[in-house]
Amino acid sequence: MGKKATDYTLQELNLVEIAREVNDGDIVIIGTGMPLLGVMLAQKTHAPNVFAITEAGPIGVNPAYLPFSVADPVFTMGATMVGGLTESLGLVHAGRVDLGFLGGAQIDKFGNLNTSFIGVDYNHPVSRLPGSGGANDIASCCKKTIISMAAHRKDKFVGKLDFNTTPGYLTGGDARKKIGYPGEGPLKVISPLGVFRFDEVTKEMYIDSYFPGVTIEQIKENTGWDIKVGKDCKETEAPTEEQVKVLRALDPAGVFLKKG
């Protein structure tokens, strides 16, 4: 598996956690930012045959530089097919995409996400947020998803969402299975504090591993419900030296990667 790195940032570890779920040959739908970097890392290491599509229409993409916009023309240059949203999200809706990426302002213990508003009344939001975009489609229909949370606090990991924009395991147990989405639901959640997975039966989120320098106590204190600890919970496995080297070469200008 290669020599473990000792010099890496938590952001790099976060990206490696994304890459670890990308299997060779997977069809993935990507945007920009962290998921794009994570998928490119996988493509340049263990998953050279990953097939990436973007929401705007380019299919079989291999961007020559790291784009900031999901509609950057670099996605079309060198793509193997280009259409529109019907072609890209249509593949998602048909259940033909293996892996998609999600984020949100709030997440609950069943991996449901809110990206619509903060407040109690939909028509009078305290804070209005972007909305679903393609997230509801991706969460419902991609075979698997990975959720990245930009912050880990009690107002982000909440007991109850203000609005369920994007379904995870709904109310847990077999609720998701019963409603009959093409996709299976979130594989894991990555936050700045650690990695979380979902119980096979109850579908409740648990702590799978914690990042170096983070304690289980700290995660519990920053989570809005009494989060369970996985039976094999340990420190998150360090990246390999190769992974760190490849990542830094992918973003030499530091567009998305923070230094140090």
């Binding site: 705007a56 916009s69 023309p73 999200l89 619509s116 209005r128 972007p130 679903s132 509801n136």
Partner: protein, 313 residues
Amino acid sequence: MNNKVMTAKDAVSQYIKDGDVVYIGGFAANISYALTHEIIRQKKKDLTIVTSSFNEHGDQLVGAGCVSRIETSYFWMEVFGQCSCFRRAAEKSIPHSVQIEEYSNFAMVARFMAGALGIPYVPLNAIKGSDLAEQTAWKGDKKLKIMSDPFGSGTVHALVPALQPDIAIVHAHRSDENGNLQIWGQVGDIPWGAKASRTVIATVEEVVDGDVIKHDPNRTCIPDFMVSAIVPEPFASHPKPVQGYYNVDRDFIFNYIKLAKTEEGLKEFMDEWVYGVKDRTEYIEKFIKKYGWQRFQGLKSSQYSAASVNYGA
């Protein structure tokens, strides 16, 4: 032959009425800022704006007070930042309140597709189970329906209604004078959104001879009989890209986001780039004068051409 070439000013004043449902095409690319800015200059009111995802084109229309209702899946600036006018209107009714009917991205495209094909509604695998199926702004039970598959699979689906806007505003790469619109690269939601609408007004990078269109008919997304007006406006999509013409102007987008955070900053931006110019030609002149020829040229696309194909019989 029917020459539809006209100015943005004439196209907007002739074809857009207060209260219209206006589809604004483009998924973060090929967006006609030349026409959205003209709508703002003409102070159109009470519009319902619809598209799969809005960025600053929608934000500026909301900030200028042109919009009462929004149907979309997304209203933000991707990883660049937030749409502040959208937030001020939704949270504080500044300059006035707006209502937001929120669907998923694919649901919006499916609604346009249905509108274009004359299909009354589309059953979807998404939306069900989420609060998108529970909450509504003004459509009530007409937003969508949850229904069991009548063919007996036992699965429930969200049925979303077809959407047929009064008018589509799009930006194409090129057209002839009759309005056969050609777009290449990522087409986003433009083909379905435009064909779903009762008519289309389009800005184009170039007006070409009809023979150019007829030698490459696969690239035509929208046939001329659906189009009412063609406005030749190079750079009309700036700061968003047009494949093969120019790339995203990141600095310009960041500057807009920074300014739009306050009402004063928004006024400064609008006075400079919308009210302060009479058309896109003046906009380009201002851009070059302010930021220099080099930055303008720096936005131009690299060369990456297709091999030619034979369409012969």
